[in-house]
């Protein structure tokens, strides 16, 4: 853990409404460059809120978030947009593709917004398309492809500008087990080949076992964290044990 890409201090988030609800009660966290971390926790523990705050799509109530030593919430709108499309990549459970654009256009969207020249665009596209193996579906529309393919497209869109930090919210939540495997393998290789740091929220112990480290959130606070050793299977078992301890996770027969 030589260099830190993300540093979170005393992150708090309150939802004010008829009843004020504290989703995050002060979380400290740091993410190293090239690190792959999974966030786990029971439903309603605040893990997605945690990710959304880091993703710059939901403003925290208190605390600081530094991504590459910059606080994104101090940037103005233009700078923030630029920051999002150069430093961050997003993958969601429900893909969030633009349905009026084709697969290819969806992937190129971040570059288009940056007015990158066509040659560079094609080179980048070539690279991710090869990497993700989605050449045959490039000309299709988003509703003509399967869930697994949609997630690949979303991943392609997230990594085309080679961000330093990839943020994923339940990326496998809508996928079948085969697709889960291939998407997770993809995450692993993105992490290795592009040296992209990954922060991923999941409730699936198997998915989490692909990460280097798993942190557990309970009731809006950091509960525990475990590191992966050499053995992935053992790591999976440790995750399961922690989840059981948290309440939920493994079912008793």
């Amino acid at each position: 853990m030589t260099k830190t890409i993300l540093n979170v201090k005393q992150l708090q988030k309150e939802y004010t409404g008829e009843i004020t609800y504290k989703a995050l009660k002060g979380i400290d966290f740091h993410l190293g460059k090239k690190e792959f971390v999974a966030v786990m926790g029971p439903s309603g523990s605040g893990k997605t809120t945690f990710l959304n705050c880091i993703s710059t799509i939901d403003r925290p109530t208190n605390g600081s978030i530094l991504i590459k030593s910059k606080n994104p919430y101090e940037l103005n709108d233009d700078e923030l947009a630029k920051f999002r499309r150069t430093e961050l990549g997003f993958v969601f459970q429900d893909f969030n593709l633009v349905h009026t654009l084709t697969v290819e256009e969806n992937i190129l969207l971040p570059l288009t917004l940056d007015s990158v020249n066509e040659k560079e665009m094609n080179e980048s596209l070539e690279k991710v398309v090869n990497f993700l193996g989605i050449r045959e579906i490039l000309k299709k529309r988003t509703f003509e492809i399967s869930g697994g393919q949609k997630q690949r497209v979303a991943i392609a869109r997230a990594v085309i500008h080679e961000p330093n930090l990839l943020l994923a919210d339940e990326p496998t939540g809508n996928l079948d087990s085969k697709s889960v495997n291939s998407v997770m393998t993809l995450f692993e290789s993105i992490n290795k080949t592009f040296n992209t740091a990954i922060l991923m929220v999941t409730h699936d112990a198997y998915v989490a076992s692909f990460a280097h480290r798993v942190i557990f959130i309970k009731d809006g606070g950091l509960y525990n964290e475990i590191h992966r050793g050499k053995n992935k299977k053992q790591f999976y078992q440790e995750i399961m044990d922690t989840l059981t301890f948290l309440g939920g996770g493994q079912h008793e027969f």
């Binding site: 799509i57 939901d58 499309r85 349905h99």
Partner: protein, 614 residues
């Protein structure tokens, strides 16, 4: 791929969202274009020397323009709402607010450009047809097709300006919200209707108060006449708004308390209404207002068209009325001989000759009772030697009955009043009918009147033209008034009004339908998902159809009913000022619109159900 490519694809691949916006824009622009084509017609200057006609057409175009403003703003709101999630997706991929605004702006301008070009192209094709209709309505034989360059330029400039302003303004309104809210826009609950009984009561009381004070012509109204009308209009709009929203809320609450709520599909229907109460109520409100516009345009304008004959007769009671002034040196006999010989050739007619004396300063006329009885349009009266009778001089103005006491005619007693003017309106302020003996003692200048009444006078315009070309009003000499001529002119104006009203009501109607279409289109995806879910737990297509039918019927027929009720109430209030023909016409008009509504209801229902189930 560049930025503009995204803009173009957004439109091309999402046609169903844009099509109704596009079509209604085209329609508004088209009507504007056609109106201005007529207004700028090269023959217009010759046809319409006083340029009132051109002005009316321009005014109508202007009204369409203002309406387009409002309508396009509304459409844009509907758009942005539908696109909220997509905007969120664009933002997470790194689009800045500026880029989002630029994108929405360009999309709009693209549609605007396409709409303007399409409208003018269609306008070119149907302009000859339109001019042919106009030729009939305006009775302008010279109205041929021409290349309407000024109106093309005007349309392009004005509508480009309109779209520019609206798009710029609207994109400013895209709020900078947390992206997470944008992304979840499609699943978060809408705002519910806020109970506001006091606002409802207040706005209704205010409207009624304003209405009564205008009808009763209270003092304060007189000093702020236009202001009070505008205030009434605005408070009326508020009253309708609050009544509809609060009424929806009340209906939902009542339904939910009833035991039948938990039976069959009632719960689904009512909870649907509740969840979407606010937007439903807004749609009902908009449709009601637009329909009111349609009804008012057609009924009022058509009825004014219908009453022309009675109104003309009230103004000028005679087919021809020749009034010879005291200083008339021209040859009265020659004129009268000409008139009568012309009339002889046409057929049967009644002639009345009489005279009256007048105080020219106060424009008070005195007529002997025998001369009064000479005129054939009213019941003869008998007066005893010390009585007088009062007759109106101006149409619709109650004459003063006491002014006669200022004259030295001895003591006369008031015997009665005729509120209808017996001679052409405005000739005198009032006529006092007095006993023949008294009349002879008066020394005021004498006016001689020669009045003629023809059978079936409405189609004798040729006779009127022949006579009027020879004998027309010569100031200081003699006056000539013909109801045939007036009727012809009035009918002309009224048919233009009706024509314009018809076009306006078409615009309102198309706007209403387009708003409904938009609304259904926007909620379609969510509804589809919801019903797909419910069908899985055992919900037949038939049951689905019944819920959807009820919901659609609420959206279409409640506005219709409210608008019709308001129209009928208005007619009841002004019943003293309108003829019975009006009721008949209104009934026919409402019937036609109801028919159109029922047809479009079934078409919409079918299309919507097909989309939902498929």
């Amino acid at each position: 791929m560049n930025f503009n490519h995204i803009v173009v694809q957004n439109i091309l691949r999402d046609k169903s969202t844009y099509i109704s916006y596009f079509l209604s824009s085209v329609f508004s622009i088209l009507v504007f274009f056609l109106f201005s084509t007529t207004a700028f017609h090269p023959m217009m200057a010759e046809l319409d020397t006083t340029s009132t006609l051109g002005m009316t057409m321009m005014l109508a175009s202007f009204f369409i323009y203002i309406f387009s403003f409002v309508f396009i703003i509304y459409s844009l709101f509907a758009f942005l709402k539908k696109k909220t999630k997509t905007l969120g997706v664009f933002m997470i991929t790194g689009a800045s607010m500026r880029q989002i605004r630029k994108m929405v702006f360009r999309e709009n301008m693209l549609i605007a450009g396409a709409a303007i070009i399409t409208a003018i192209a269609i306008g070119f094709v149907i302009a000859p047809l339109f001019l042919m209709v106009t030729k009939k309505v305006l009775r302008a034989e010279s109205f041929g097709m021409y290349v309407p360059i000024p109106s093309i330029l005007l349309t392009i400039v004005l509508f480009t300006l309109l779209f520019l302003i609206v798009s710029k303004f609207m994109t400013r309104l895209i709020k900078k919200e947390e992206i997470v809210k944008l992304l979840k826009a499609d699943i978060t609950q809408e705002k519910l209707i806020v109970p506001a009984p006091f606002k409802m009561i207040l706005s209704n009381i205010l409207s009624v108060f304003l209405l009564i004070s205008i009808i009763k012509e209270m003092n304060w109204v007189k000093s702020f006449e236009t202001v009070s009308y505008i205030a009434l209009f605005i408070s009326f709009l508020f009253a309708i708004y609050y009544t509809i929203t609060q009424g929806t809320l009340l209906a939902i609450r009542v339904w939910q308390r009833r035991t039948s709520y938990l039976r069959k599909t009632n719960m689904l229907f009512v909870s649907n209404l509740k969840a979407k109460g606010r937007s439903h109520a807004h749609i009902i409100y908009l449709l009601t207002v637009l329909l009111l516009g349609v009804f008012v345009c057609t009924s009022v304008l058509y009825s004014s068209y219908y009453n022309v004959k009675e109104k003309t007769e009230a103004l000028y009671p005679y087919s021809f009325q020749y009034t010879s002034l005291p200083d008339n040196t021209s040859e009265v006999e020659k004129d009268i001989t000409f008139i009568e010989s012309t009339l002889d050739k046409v057929g049967k007619y009644d002639a009345y000759y009489l005279a009256f004396k007048t105080d020219e300063e106060r424009r008070i006329g005195f007529m002997s009772v025998s001369d009064f009885n000479e005129l054939g349009q009213h019941k003869p009266i008998t007066l005893s030697n010390n009585e007088y009778y009062v007759v109106a001089g101006n149409e619709g103005v109650r004459p003063n009955t006491e002014d006669i006491h200022g004259y030295p005619f001895g003591i006369l007693e008031y015997a009665g009043l005729e509120e209808q003017n017996i001679l052409s309106t405005g000739l005198q302020n009032v006529f006092y009918i007095i006993p023949d003996k008294v009349y002879e003692t008066i020394e005021y200048p004498v006016y001689k009147v020669f009045a003629y009444e023809l059978d079936k006078w409405t189609n004798k315009i040729n006779v009127a033209n022949t006579i009027l070309s020879e004998v027309s009003t010569e100031p200081g000499m003699h006056l000539m008034a013909s109801k045939i001529d007036l009727y012809d002119a009035e009918k002309f104006v009224k048919s233009i009004m009706f024509f314009i009203g018809f076009m306006l009501s078409l615009i309102f109607m198309s706007a209403a339908m387009s708003i409904l279409y938009f609304y259904l289109q926007t909620s379609l995806e969510g509804e589809k998902e919801k019903y797909a879910g419910i069908r899985k737990i055992g919900f037949s297509v038939k049951e689905l159809a019944s819920v959807v039918t009820k919901e659609l019927a609420t959206l279409t027929f409640i506005p219709f009913t409210i608008a019709a009720l308001i129209l009928l109430a208005t007619m009841f209030i002004i019943r003293n000022y309108i003829s019975s023909a009006f009721y008949q016409l209104t009934a026919i008009g409402l019937g036609i619109f109801l028919f159109l509504f029922i047809i479009s209801f079934f078409i919409i229902r079918r299309a919507y159900l097909n989309k939902l189930v498929d």
